[in-house]
Symmetry: C2
Subunit: 182 residues, 2 copies
């Protein structure tokens, strides 16, 4: 089905900080063979393509599609890693309306295959980013029928805060190691 | 960098058989929680988007980008799975010109993280599809400077043939299990 463009695009002037932090950290991890995590390309439904002579094919009509999975996946120390990342300007709860059923179902299926699934949630006003395991996330996602959200207090209690650094900017694989590797 | 469209697109009338077989098999695996493998979206560089009132955002200028990873990845029984799939009409060797350095490097990095990396290679004329481990693939890929290809005989000897079935059409995860899980 045709979708609104990803939120990141329509708020480009806001800074895209969490995604930038993750991408920079992923580059850092890949360059050092710490972990191989990539953001998946934005899914696009291509309707029309022009093939001019002597130059690159040009897509002239296409639409944003809803993603059927989360945005990020890869491998870290033999384990499959899968996550979605979002920011909010809300102070008291993390709204879930930008998560989709397909993504929730995908995370659940990943866990059944013994993969590691979580969300990275940033409260921009508090300046805090949490790793929050998919099991707890799915509890909130499926437990509410509308105006879904996760209380800030719940994330403070059961999320794992990821400190901001210089390089990598968001060392979330260190948090993954602390939480999932014993 | 701007790229030619993926080979699948420009030869759409040829049938896209291997990709279709894999996608159908992935749907089968996902529906039964056998494994969670997805094809990544085609990477597209979006240059211009129109936002008409009361209808979906329309991408009016975009270009195909070279993929920085392989096309398929996911998780199977706790292991990270990563592969690229290609077909050839050649009978005596599998040409490698449609593989890119980024993909080769990516497979090597996946192996260093203890992920499972391979290619699925189909000889359409012979009607044969092989799972071929990334280590051997990379040997051929990096061992030749031009007109790179893998001899058919090498694939017969060291590839793992995947029989075609009805449902799933290409049970490559069974082959993965035989080859990588002991
Ligand atoms: Mg997303
Ligand atoms: Mg490809």
């Amino acid at each position: 089905s045709r979708q609104s463009p990803p939120a990141e695009k329509s708020f480009a002037n806001r800074g895209m900080t969490l995604e930038e932090d993750i991408n920079e950290s992923n580059d850092y991890y890949i360059a050092r063979d710490i972990g191989i995590i990539h953001k998946k390309p934005t899914p696009v439904q291509i309707v029309d393509v022009h093939y001019p002579k002597r130059s690159a094919a040009r897509i002239t009509e296409a639409y944003f599609k809803q993603a059927s999975t989360t945005d990020y996946n890869g491998v870290f120390a033999g384990r499959y890693i899968d996550f979605e990342a979002k920011e909010t300007r809300n102070k008291t709860a993390f709204p879930l309306q930008n998560f989709h059923d397909h993504q929730a179902e995908h995370m659940h299926k990943v866990q059944k295959q013994d993969g590691i699934a979580f969300v990275l949630l940033r409260f921009t006003v508090h300046g805090e980013t949490y790793l929050y395991d998919a099991s707890r996330f799915l509890h909130w996602y499926y437990g509410q029928s509308k105006r879904k959200s996760i209380p800030y207090k719940e994330l403070q209690e059961h999320g794992h805060p990821i400190p901001l650094g210089l390089h990598p900017r968001l060392d979330y694989l260190k948090t993954v190691k602390d939480v999932y590797f014993h």
